[in-house]
């Protein structure tokens, strides 16, 4: 949506969150059945940040992620992604915004009939990337996640960690500003989980913002990154260098 230059009411919040990849202001989400999943959430994530999103099941983590990829719209408040208000986005502009976000799930969501290489290339093909640019881009992200040797294998031939790395490669192939990982280690054993976390840390060091929802207390406490805790739809804690549990 083109904004008119010098339009004060619209320009002000955009300027306030200039450096933020994503910002939620007073966001409340009420589902049609009356359930309130998020209440007055205020969250600003600057470029290059690494944020753990923690909280018990049903605290609103999944709803928050759905708002960020505009799978759901906020009932009240503003969700800004890279400065764009998702509620004001016309339908046809949604796919372009989604390409700025790479998303990784607990269950990998890989296509079983396609090879590792094809699964990653798929993300480019279906967004209309010219064929000559697909090959180099896929090869690059597969090297980055360390799967160049497994490129021709199909997901069933891979370990869980390799499948998750394929999903991360797919999330990266659009050069996103933000990676959202929803319980990426939920299906993996501790050793493999650490491999995945280290991969996400490396990606973060390359300048990509990472938001990771997790129940993995060991990882969160060990890394001392920014921790945002949700409880019953509210942000109950937001501290830099925090642990999984409240420490005071």
């Amino acid at each position: 949506m083109p904004q008119l230059a010098g339009d004060p009411p619209l320009a002000a919040p955009a300027a306030r969150t200039d450096q933020a990849v994503l910002a939620l202001h007073d966001v409340t989400k009420t589902y049609p059945n009356g359930k309130v999943a998020l209440r007055d959430v205020e969250l600003v994530v600057p470029e290059g940040d690494f944020v753990f999103l923690v909280g018990p099941s049903g605290a609103g983590k999944t709803t928050l992620i759905k708002l960020l990829i505009r799978d759901e719209l906020a009932s009240e408040g503003q969700v800004l992604l890279d400065g764009q208000d998702l509620a004001r986005l016309p339908r046809r502009a949604v796919p372009k915004v989604r390409r700025k976000v790479g998303i990784v799930f607990q269950d990998f969501k890989l296509l079983p009939t396609k090879s590792v290489w094809e699964n990653v290339a798929f993300a480019l093909e279906v967004t209309g990337t010219p064929g000559r640019r697909i090959g180099p881009a896929v090869d690059r992200v597969l090297r980055l996640v360390g799967l160049a040797a497994q490129a021709r294998q199909v997901p069933t031939q891979l370990s869980g960690g390799e499948q998750q790395r394929t999903a991360i490669a797919r999330a990266l192939v659009h050069d996103p500003r933000l990676i959202i990982a929803d319980e990426p280690t939920g299906n993996l054993d501790p050793l493999i989980s650490w491999e995945i976390i280290q991969l996400l840390l490396r990606i973060n060091e390359m300048g990509v913002t990472v938001l990771m929802a997790t129940h993995n207390a060991e990882v969160v406490t060990a890394l001392r990154k920014r921790v945002v805790a949700l409880e019953d739809g509210r942000v109950v804690r937001d501290e830099v260098g925090g642990a999984y549990h409240r420490e005071d």
Partner: protein
């Protein structure tokens, strides 16, 4: 744009073959439904042709007075032929009528007793075929006014009423049955494709998550639906072509009283129907099935 179309067709082709079981099920359903539709279409066409033939059997027969001169008869004939309701007028001489009568007796194997007659008791007649059996009024009125030329006009009111009642009922019933079969075919095909698309809901979800636009999600499925429809239609037409010759023989035998034309016209209509229904339903099915997965 060309790239997009090429991409969609390529994806449709891959989608069709990589989901072999679902594609096979959808195509098989398509074939069976198109055969069902074709069958009812053929029956409906035969029924209509038969009804038309029966309606044409209804004709006004006028007995020509023995005193009438050939000129007078010719004038009446021309006047009738000029009337808009009239299909054709045939003059049948009494000799011809007697010959026909004798032939009929012979065909039935009955004894011919007409040889005992001292003269031909049958009149010369004019047989008037009508375009629509209901429009006999003007013709009958005109004939009854030709005193001295026409001695008698057969009363056909009751016959017409009965025939038209029956043929109208059968026509309506045929159309209703065909429409019901058409609706059944529509719902079954759309639902089959819906199942095939549902089996790939995860693929669509991934496309949405990685930022594919609606067009990139929708068009491959529409092309795939068109492929199912086209394959189904071609196989259906092949099956029809194989059974056409024996079927036609049977139909001619069955309807041998009727001068029916199961010729190129029915063949053309049937081809258009099968291709149109196959492609149309394939595309429609894909369109409505994918729509529910797109961005809300």
């Amino acid at each position: 744009m060309i790239g997009f179309v090429a991409f969609s067709i390529k994806r449709a082709w891959q989608g069709f073959w990589r989901n072999g079981v679902m594609s096979l099920a959808a195509t098989a359903t398509m074939i069976l439904m198109l055969l069902l539709l074709s069958g009812f279409w053929i029956i409906q066409t035969g029924l209509n042709a038969g009804l038309q033939f029966i309606e044409q059997k209804v004709e006004v027969v006028a007995d020509v007075a023995d005193t009438a001169t050939p000129d007078q008869v010719t004038t009446v004939e021309h006047t009738l032929e000029a009337m808009p309701q009239v299909q054709s007028v045939t003059y049948k001489s009494k000799d011809q009528a007697l010959a026909d009568f004798r032939q009929r007796l012979k065909d039935r194997g009955q004894e011919d007793l007409t040889g005992y007659l001292d003269r031909n008791p049958l009149p010369n007649t004019l047989e008037i075929k009508l375009k629509n059996p209901r429009d006999f009024g003007n013709v009958v009125d005109y004939l009854q006014g030709q005193q001295g030329v026409i001695s008698r006009v057969t009363p056909i009111q009751k016959l017409v009423d009965q025939v038209v009642t029956v043929t109208n009922f059968l026509r309506t019933a045929g159309a209703v049955v065909l429409a019901l079969v058409g609706l059944t075919v529509l719902f079954i095909i759309v639902n089959t494709i819906r199942l095939a698309v549902f089996a790939r809901a995860e693929e669509i979800e991934i496309m949405r998550l990685v930022g594919a636009s609606d067009a990139f999600i929708r068009w491959p499925f529409i092309f795939e639906g068109a492929m199912v429809g086209l394959f189904g239609a071609i196989i259906t037409l092949a099956v029809l072509a194989v059974v056409a010759t024996p079927l036609q023989g049977f139909m001619y035998g069955f309807f041998n009283v009727l001068p029916l034309e199961f010729g190129s016209l029915l063949l053309r209509d049937l081809t258009l129907l099968v291709l149109g229904a196959g492609l149309g339903l394939g595309i429609l099915g894909s369109y409505v099935s994918v729509r529910s997965y797109l961005i809300r």
